[in-house]
């Protein structure tokens, strides 16, 4: 995954989860992030699809449980 794409993904996490601009999101996980609810999950997927012009199906969506897992998923997609 390129540095640019990593930065974009981190910015998406901060925007969707309403975190401060300098917040480190690399350790963010769904279970420990209180505002990562179902609505935020949908927004996160839509944001990633929009930003990276990709599609995330139901199976992929289940894999998005943390920043690291998301990075892995996008790398699988060649991003």
């Amino acid at each position: 995954m390129t540095t640019t794409n990593r930065e974009k993904l981190q910015e998406i996490f901060r925007a969707v989860l309403e975190l401060p601009p300098a917040a480190d999101v690399t350790g963010v996980q769904q279970g420990s992030q209180h505002n990562w609810d179902s609505l935020a999950h949908v927004s996160l997927i839509a944001a990633i699809e929009s930003e990276f012009t990709t599609t995330i199906d139901a199976a992929d969506a289940l894999c998005i449980t943390s920043y690291q897992a998301t990075t892995a998923l996008l790398e699988e997609k060649g991003l």
């Binding site: 974009k8 910015e11 998406i12 925007a15 609505l39 999950h41 949908v42 927004s43 997927i45 839509a46 944001a47 990633i48 699809e49 929009s50 930003e51 012009t53 990709t54 599609t55 995330i56 199906d57 139901a58 969506a61």
Partner: protein, 547 residues
Amino acid sequence: MTFLEAHRIVSAFAGGEALPFLLAMSGTGDALQMFLRAAAATRGRSASVRTLPFNTLAQALLEPPRPDEREVFLLLPWDFVPEADWRSGLPPEPPDADAIRTHAMAVADRLSKRPRARVLYVPAAMPPIFPDAAANRSLAAWTATLAWSTGAEILAAEAFSLESYLSNGGPVAGAQLGAVAEAVVAQAAAQVPEPYKVLVTDLDNVMWHGVIGEDGIEGTHCAPEGIGFCFFLYQTLLARLRREGTLLAAVSRNDPDLARAPFRAGRTLLVEADFVCIAASYQAKSAQIADIASRLNLGLDSFVFVDDNPIELAEVGAQLPAVHLVRFADTDAGLPRLFGELSALFVRPAVTDEDRQRTELYRRRLAGVAPSTARGADLTAFLRELEMTLTIHDRSSGDRARAVQLINKTNQFNLNGHRVADEDVGAMLAAGGRLYSASVSDRHGTHGEVFACLIDAEDVIRSLVMSCRVFQRRIEHAFLLWLAAQPAPPRALAFVETPRNEPIRQFLIDGAFTSNGDGPVAFDAGAFLRAHASDLDLFTVAEPATR
């Protein structure tokens, strides 16, 4: 626009005029929210989006629209054909094709009856609900055509994502969120034009083939054959528009008797009585149209002018820029363009008895209209000769449809421009409010129910409206005189200035009304009675039965 671009726009936006609207779609629109706010922000507007609960679009269509709420419907094929919803799976048996089409047309009909609704349609791939592939293709094409017939803007099929729809109920593809949001906000922010009211048509080579002044009556042709065919068809369209409530007028640079001759000779489909006015003189057509507008007391922005001559169109356009110009078809092949353009300008979602009688009502108004130079004593004498009767109806119980319609369609003599939902009126009445309307007749005939007044339980007038076709008759004075003499006269009026309610603002410039610049305008019933008592002499007032 990508998500991060949208986020940056929204973050940097300091706020602007609110853009409230309903985004109606059967799936979830959560993913669109950021993009909608960004698309509105680029227009300097703050989006305030109401959405429907998941999969309740069909129910929402059965409810009346909220007053003044702009609605944007983002539709998919299964909003017309529920059997084709991917989330429902294929039906176990092939569905009844006729029943499917009947249901879909009912949906389209409900959409067409929502005057403030805008429709976007995504022609997404449909599941094969019929065993026959051709039948499935036919249904998809037919559904898209049906959507198009509602005036829908057709978006790219790629705007739909089956992955997203199955995953989280959001039908819009992630990569298309920006484009779809842009289309939605463009529709939400677009001005909803008021429907035009008057179609002014040229006569020679528009109503008939030929030039009456040169070819004589025998040289004019309007018949379902030969060289008069397209003119006959044009008149069939005008006849339909007239039936639906459009006022027809004609202008011609001709001798008046000559201009009317083809009508009187029975060489036309329409007759003189179909027109509210046939103006013929050697004045410029702009002057003739301005005179018609003045006599009908209608704004020029409610006029459409049809002529075959580009010079005449240019002259009217230069002198009366508010008038919408339409060029008549040069050839028969131009008829579809002409008919489509005119039909779109005079859309009426529902035709009421009032619409059907409008031409006759305005013809009576013209018969009773004061000469434009009449003022003061002359005007009073003229009005007295009209022998007017003001019949007041208490609509606080029973049928109030016309009174509510008047409140919701009147612009000029309108206290505040507020539109009201029938159920809100019902609630106000149940709480002790009052609703009155008034009909007017004179020696020329009846003008129908032309006045409405809604008063809340605190004796504040919330709505006060009068049809523009009975302006300058002092009906508003007579009604308020009657109201002021009632046991509980109103104490104030909830006036709000709008871009179009100058007539009522002028009416309120009176010693009986006091405004402190904020809040309702106070009403001194005693002062009004003392100042205007003589206006009641112009009317025979028929009072309502007791409630």
